[in-house]
């Protein structure tokens, strides 16, 4: 049945045009002709604008059910499509007795087909929500039901949720059996803590689904994503049954601190349907259980006492310290056994133990008189350069060139130039440091830039400063205002970090200040900087997932220890192709703010958190968005939870292929449902009509000019 459907405006327009035409009847012929052209032009214009259409509505005699067959890759690879089509053909004729069937293949969307072919090629994604709604739109609400054949591995952008409940059509889902001939190893996921301790064994549980692999040894391994060739942990497992879900504990020891992406991988077995699902990523924040600090001081004094107390009270620092209590020139006055002194184990420290430490502090220390060998200096330099050790040289009368360090292998790695003469000059005056870089992690006494500056300005004065010169590539963070001598200097040297502090009177920042908070904060900053703890600012951006796919949104929580307002922070997202954009940061609670964005493209994105007034990031990290199609091949099992959910929410049922007969299926659909298929054809949609209108316009213009009507 066909019917003309259009807006009431068309009727009004037609009456108006008829009246207009009537008024021209008595006019002269040429005027009439001209007006006919104009009226025709106006009518056509109206029709193009209002777009009247003709609907072809077909109402079926029997209740209609739409049969939707998932032909995505996950169905094809596992041969479930073939099995599903085979099963459907067995029940098809019985269903046809009571229902009119409409056939749809679907993957990213549904499209009608005349019949199901078991050899249909696989789609690269599965969007159940979208496909269901396409079918619903084409058939109206009168559908008796939808019969859905799918493995439930939806990877479309919208989760079925509301999309299914709003269908108002019962969806009966058939859970498909895995064909026995399919062999597949699927690493489903990895259960691990969000963080691990450096140099401490960690166990992760790898969930593996083995299909058709009974008695076949499967080699599992854990590898770093950046170096897949290096196996960190390995295990071989064998399934007893044809299909088995196993959890495998894998143990390994993270050796470096930072955020790392690991892969739990299964080696492909012979005849495996796909190897795209043989690995799963997981991300670990490897943190130090404690920063191990070796503090060597050449002479006891207030600086040692105060700094030692800070380090000793820091729960994140494991301190081993040696302070030289007696020098060769000192006289014992008592027998040796009455002195509570221990030998300074130079050889053990600088040949073996050094490599177990994260930080070495040489405070007002001269190596002379302790049997130092060149080997020890080389070891310290190697430890910094290759092992990422953090070295601090500081202070006093025996530091720097006065301690002989200018003529050792350490001279190259220390960020200041020392005197060649063997003794640096000294400034003895009191002074307030001149800060050159307030935003450096070492110098952040407070996260609020204004308050940070105030705190530095209010710190008590120091006394004395070694005359040194900052090396060109080092950062002089603060100066002694007398001759602008570098007071605090730092740099990254290969894998390690080195800092130099040209005074040994920072204890005044504790004793003379209203509280020792700033003193403690400064030294905590120094320790974190030297131990290459990237999160030295205390800020953290926590991502909601460990992996993303193109088209997905990421959401991040921003931990701001300074309780800054969102306006004081900026979060940028640098896309794989280069452009950087700043994201809106929303107010959160408990020092947490939130931000998010859609990851349009696949690739590596960089996220950086800045304070409003600085271009140096407080926190930086990366996230990777994989190709969406990877999802399709990476999950070949049935998502029973999804299948059950769709059935329950839509008011349908979940049946198992093994025992679902046509009769059972028929009972699940509406008995009186009538489908109305609407095919709508717009009459004036073609651009050709615009061409006709234009032609009329030109003709009218020429005609009127020729007849002198203009």
């Amino acid at each position: 049945m066909q019917e003309f459907s259009s807006s009431p405006l068309i009727l009004i327009s037609a009456v108006f045009l008829a009246v207009l035409a009537g008024s021209f009847a008595a006019a002269r012929i040429r005027l009439v002709l001209s007006r006919i052209i104009r009226v025709g032009m106006a009518v056509l214009l109206l029709l193009v604008v209002l777009r009247p259409s003709v609907s072809d509505r077909n109402a079926s005699a029997n209740p209609v059910i739409a049969v939707m067959m998932d032909n995505s890759n996950s169905m094809v690879l596992t041969k479930k499509l073939r099995e599903a089509v085979k099963y459907f053909r067995q029940i098809e004729n019985d269903l046809k007795k009571n229902f009119e069937l409409k056939y749809y293949f679907f993957s990213s969307d549904a499209s009608p087909v005349k019949s199901f072919s078991p050899d249909s090629s696989g789609g690269r994604s599965t969007d159940i929500s979208r496909s269901l709604w396409t079918v619903r739109r084409e058939n109206g609400a009168g559908l008796a039901g939808i019969l859905l054949f799918t493995d439930g591995n939806h990877n479309g952008q919208q989760p079925p949720g509301r999309w299914v409940s709003d269908l108002n059509v019962p969806v009966t889902v058939v859970s498909l059996s895995q064909p026995s001939s399919v062999r597949d190893v699927e690493v489903i996921g990895v259960n691990s803590a969000d963080f691990a301790f450096k140099n401490t064994p960690l166990t992760v549980s790898v969930a593996v689904r083995l299909t058709g692999c009974a008695s076949v040894p499967v080699k599992l391994s854990v590898r770093s994503k950046n170096d897949k060739s290096r196996i960190i942990a390995a295990k071989t497992i064998t399934a007893d049954k044809q299909s088995e879900l196993v959890s495998v504990d894998m143990q390994f020891t993270p050796e470096a601190g930072g955020r790392f992406t690991y892969l739990a991988m299964a080696e492909p077995v012979e005849g495996e349907a796909t190897s795209a699902n043989n690995s799963a990523e997981f991300v670990l924040d490897v943190i130090r259980d404690k920063t191990r600090a070796l503090y060597i001081c050449g002479r006891p004094g207030p600086e040692y006492a105060f700094l030692r107390n800070v380090l000793k009270n820091d729960a994140n620092v494991e301190l081993v310290s040696f302070v030289i209590l007696r020098r060769p020139e000192n006289i014992a006055l008592v027998p040796e056994h009455d002195l509570a002194l221990i030998p300074f184990p130079v050889h053990e420290l600088f040949t073996k133990e050094l490599f177990n430490f994260d930080i070495l502090i040489l405070d007002n220390f001269s190596y002379r008189g302790f049997g130092f060998r060149d080997e020890y200096f080389s070891n310290i330099a190697k430890w910094v350069r290759e092992r990422g050790g953090g070295l601090l040289i500081k202070g006093g009368e025996d530091a720097f060139a006065n301690g002989g360090w200018n003529s050792t292998a350490l001279a190259d790695i220390i960020p200041v130039e020392m005197s060649d003469s063997g003794a640096d000059s000294m400034i003895y005056e009191s002074y307030k440091p001149m800060v050159a870089d307030y935003s450096h992690p070492v110098m952040l006494l407070d996260d609020n830039p204004k308050k940070n500056r105030q705190l530095w300005e209010n710190l008590p004065a120091l006394e004395g400063c070694r005359v040194l010169k900052a090396k060109s590539q080092a950062s002089a963070l603060a100066f002694c205002p007398w001759r602008e001598l570098p007071l605090i200097t730092a740099w990254q040297y290969k894998k390690g970090r080195v800092a130099a502090i040209a005074s040994d009177t920072t204890w005044r920042w504790a004793l003379q200040a209203p509280t020792p908070r700033e003193y403690n904060k400064f030294w905590t900053n120094v320790i974190r900087y030297l131990s290459s703890d990237e999160n030295v600012s205390g800020y953290k951006v926590l991502l909601d997932k460990s992996r993303y796919f193109a088209g997905q949104e990421f959401n991040a929580k921003i931990y701001s220890p300074g309780q800054s307002r969102p306006a004081e922070l900026r979060l940028s997202l640098t896309e794989p192709s280069g452009p950087q954009r700043f994201l809106e940061i929303k107010t959160g609670t408990n020092m947490l703010f939130t931000a998010g964005a859609k990851l349009d493209k696949a690739g590596l994105y960089k996220i950086s958190l800045y304070s409003a007034n600085s271009s140096k990031p407080l926190w930086s990290g990366v996230l990777q968005a994989g190709e969406a199609s990877i999802l399709e091949d990476s999950n070949l099992g049935n998502n029973e939870t999804m299948l059950k959910y769709i059935a329950e929410v839509s008011g349908g049922a979940l049946l198992n292929q093994k025992n679902a007969s046509a009769g059972m299926l028929s009972d699940k659909f509406r008995k009186g449902g009538r489908s109305e298929t609407r095919k709508k054809k717009e009459l004036f949609k073609s651009p050709l009509w615009m061409f006709v209108i234009t032609a009329f316009f030109v003709f009218d213009l020429l005609f009127r000019r020729k007849k002198g009507l203009l």
């Binding site: 006891p300 006492a305 030692r308 107390n309 302070v323 000192n330 030998p343 006394e463 204890w507």
Partner: protein, 251 residues
Amino acid sequence: MRNLRLRLLVILPALLYTMISPVVITAAQLNKFVFTQLRYDGQWDPYPETWGDIIEFLATATSISPQRERRVASIDDKELFSSPFLVILGSESFPKFNKNQRELFRRYLSNGGIVLVEDSSAMRGGAFDSSFRSELAAVFPELKLKKLPIDHPLMRSYYFLRKVSGRRLVNNFVEGIDISGRTALIYSQNDLFGAWARDRMGNYLWECAPSGQPQRFEAQKLTMNIIMYSVTGTYKSDAIHRPFLEQKMNR
């Protein structure tokens, strides 16, 4: 005679060390140890000359670099906060601090300062003892003086000490108040400084009772240990020292 030998043993090397020391002697304090004594209304300085011997002993026997002059400061004095080590001596009643002074004293100890308090009367329940305890309770109502155990780090910060000493053995312990993991205030009633006091001829002023010279030397060693503790903190309680120290102790 034994006194003279000991004095020569201490003073001559100290003089020699001073002459040949490569350290530039400057007026600047820098990171040096400064012997600072509290001045207050009353008998604040019963032994005005002892600091010199203590400094000499310190420079001779240890690697501590001391300022070679005594600093005297009142509780309101800004200089007090340039002196991480403060000595309070007294044999008579200790005056009460006003509110501001109590706050300053509290801040000094809380920010890292270390105070050695000595009841020079060497009497149990003397005027100084009761008045000072009372004042301390007003400054730190939440903290109490506690007996320091014999294995406290100050008993081994430089010399091995198996017992406390002084001019008189009023107590066989010293007391202390702990703040932020360190003993910030050390209180002795055994008149440690009395064991150092000399007359103008260089002779010791007081006999040490009951054990005489050995007791004096033990008192002097305890003084050294307290000073060493002020510049090294709990260093000697570190795990790395324990096996060595226990081995030595058991000899």
